[in-house]
């Protein structure tokens, strides 16, 4: 198929519709407004429904209702709006409903700013909602990757009956890159025999619910969810390892920040410093295997984030004391600079060398 130049937010909308999305419930917030605007324009053309809700809370609860009714449904927002949706996300995860949520992150905390950020890592991977739940988190680094993930996201959500969060940032949402729309790999999807669509007198009522009165029942439910989470970890973990084979320092970075790090890697290589990059594509499940595959050449890891350091916690868990873990981050909508990243890496390697001596 021919390549087209698309803005990230529009491309997400186009890919979602291609992925089967027919219902969108949302509430405006910068920097993702092009997405609901696109959906309001395009969904009616394919027989779908766009509805601007009165709040993010209402929007996610509409998603809950539509998902339980068997629809392919999504919502989108940016950081503070996603914070408001956490209640609904927990209910959706608890009731095991499939849906797709897009967060085009901006700077925080609070009202923060509208420039790109990655400070919702904890919110995305730990969840701001209550309870022992997980959901898949994709962190694409280009418009093309966003499109590929969005096209597949509804299948993934349906396969596991789980919310899927696509975590971009203002940069991913606002930038234009050439994209090609491709069909995702075929997945075997279970029949949706649990949805509410009227019994038609043919079956017992279906109930969409996350309430368990007996503690033992709730524990059993949580054990089932946990087993599902393990299965997803086994099958759906994705990452990219870039020039890690002989690397002495390995950066860990995702999304927009990882693109800048990739430039820093090239720059360091030109200077004779053997740098590499682990780029998690799924933040949950987290690519532990990428770390276990690192060779003996590695002397240090360095997390690079557009935050004051959130993902670094997972990097440290994965390092498990095998390597020192450094950090470089910018926040508030400031974007890291490849030169500064490279300098931080060189400084860290020197420290690591001194410690070895």
């Amino acid at each position: 198929m021919e390549k087209v130049l698309m803005k990230g937010n529009e491309a997400v909308g186009a890919a979602a519709i291609r992925g089967g999305c027919r219902y969108f419930f949302g509430y405006p917030i910068t920097p993702q407004n092009e997405l609901p605007e696109y959906m309001s324009r395009e969904l009616p053309k394919v027989g779908g429904v766009f509805l601007q809700a009165e709040s993010e809370i209402a929007a996610i609860n509409m998603v809950y209702g539509a998902a339980g009714s068997g629809a392919r449904v999504m919502t989108s927002s940016s950081s503070p709006g996603i914070a408001l949706k956490q209640e609904g996300i927990s209910y959706i995860a608890g009731a095991e409903l499939p849906c797709v949520i897009v967060n085009m992150m901006r700077g925080g905390p609070g009202l923060g700013g509208i420039q790109p950020g990655q400070s919702d890592y904890f919110q995305a991977t730990r969840g701001g909602g209550n309870g022992d739940y997980r959901h898949i988190v994709y962190a694409p680094a280009s418009v093309q990757e966003t499109v590929d993930i969005m096209t597949e996201a509804f299948d993934v959500a349906d396969q596991y009956r789980i919310p899927v969060l696509v975590l971009g940032d203002g940069m991913i949402g606002q930038m234009m890159e050439p994209v090609e729309f491709r069909d995702p790999p075929t997945r075997e999807l279970p029949e949706k025999d649990w949805i509410t669509d009227g019994t038609a007198g043919r079956r017992a009522p279906n109930i969409i619910n996350s309430l368990y009165l007996a503690p033992q029942d709730l524990e059993d439910h949580n054990r089932r969810l946990d087993a599902k989470h393990r299965l997803i970890t086994e099958r759906e973990t994705r990452w990219e390892s870039f020039r890690c084979d002989d690397a002495e320092i390995v950066f860990v970075s995702y999304g927009t920040a990882s693109r800048i790090v990739r430039n820093a890697v090239e720059m360091l290589r030109e200077q004779g410093v053997r740098a590499g990059l682990i780029r998690p594509i799924t933040l949950w499940p987290w690519p532990q295997a990428a770390f276990d595959a690192l060779g003996p050449s590695v002397r240090a890891l360095m997390a690079v984030e557009m935050s004051m350091g959130q993902m670094i916690d997972d990097v440290k868990i994965s390092a498990a004391g095998r390597w020192p873990v450094g950090f470089y981050g910018r926040s508030g909508g400031m974007v890291p600079d490849q030169h500064a990243i490279a300098e931080a890496a060189v400084a860290m390697l020197e420290t690591a060398t001194q410690e070895v001596r």
């Binding site: 130049l5 420039q115 940069m171 606002q174 930038m175 234009m176 890159e177 050439p178 693109r259 490849q338």
Partner: protein, 184 residues
């Protein structure tokens, strides 16, 4: 490795965004790797606008241009002041002489002054100043042949604005023609 990192900047309404999109689009249609990143938010609403465009032979790393712009196309004075510092030594600074009286601070870059507004008015559309500027840039860098840009123009503006195509193409050509003239 050929990589062009261009910052287009000016007032809102001067067409800096579409100028950048046109470069990205032309690059894509000619098999190059491209990215286009706009400024967004209050800055955009407040009147000034800019976008970062990268055209490369390799996949684009960061879409952000930071102190490594190969060219800055500045449509007004605040834009020149803000972005000339982003240029690499030897970079290209195309400035709209119709609106910029001052001289740049940088003395290690090639400055190309273009009386874009006057030329645009001459070709019959005052709003085509951006195309004159882009023409000048292309005339110097030879990034794409003008015909390739013309083809992309049709796609960017769509059939609804087809009547503006000839004017825009002429503005591009007039800008490009300046490239042969002495700089200063």
């Amino acid at each position: 490795m050929s990589e062009h990192k261009i910052i287009c900047a000016g007032f809102g309404g001067q067409g800096v965004m579409s100028m950048g999109r046109l470069v990205a689009y032309t690059g894509m249609l000619n098999g190059r790797e491209v990215s286009w990143l706009p400024s967004y938010g209050p800055e955009m609403r407040g009147g000034t606008a800019n976008c970062h465009v990268i055209v490369s032979d390799h996949p684009v790393g960061s879409p952000i241009i930071h102190r490594d712009a190969t060219a800055v196309i500045a449509m007004n004075l605040p834009s020149m002041r803000k972005f000339e510092a982003e240029l690499v030594p030897g970079g290209l600074l195309v400035i709209n002489r119709s609106l910029i009286d001052a001289t740049p601070d940088r003395d290690d870059v090639t400055v190309v002054p273009v009386r874009a507004n006057e030329i645009a008015t001459e070709v019959g559309n005052a709003r085509a100043a951006n195309m004159v500027m882009l023409g000048a840039y292309l005339g110097i860098t030879r990034l794409f042949p003008l015909s390739a840009v013309g083809e992309a123009l049709g796609k960017v503006f769509g059939p609804k604005k087809a009547q503006f195509l000839p004017v825009n193409e002429e503005a591009l050509a007039r800008g490009a023609a300046l490239a042969g003239q002495p700089v200063g």
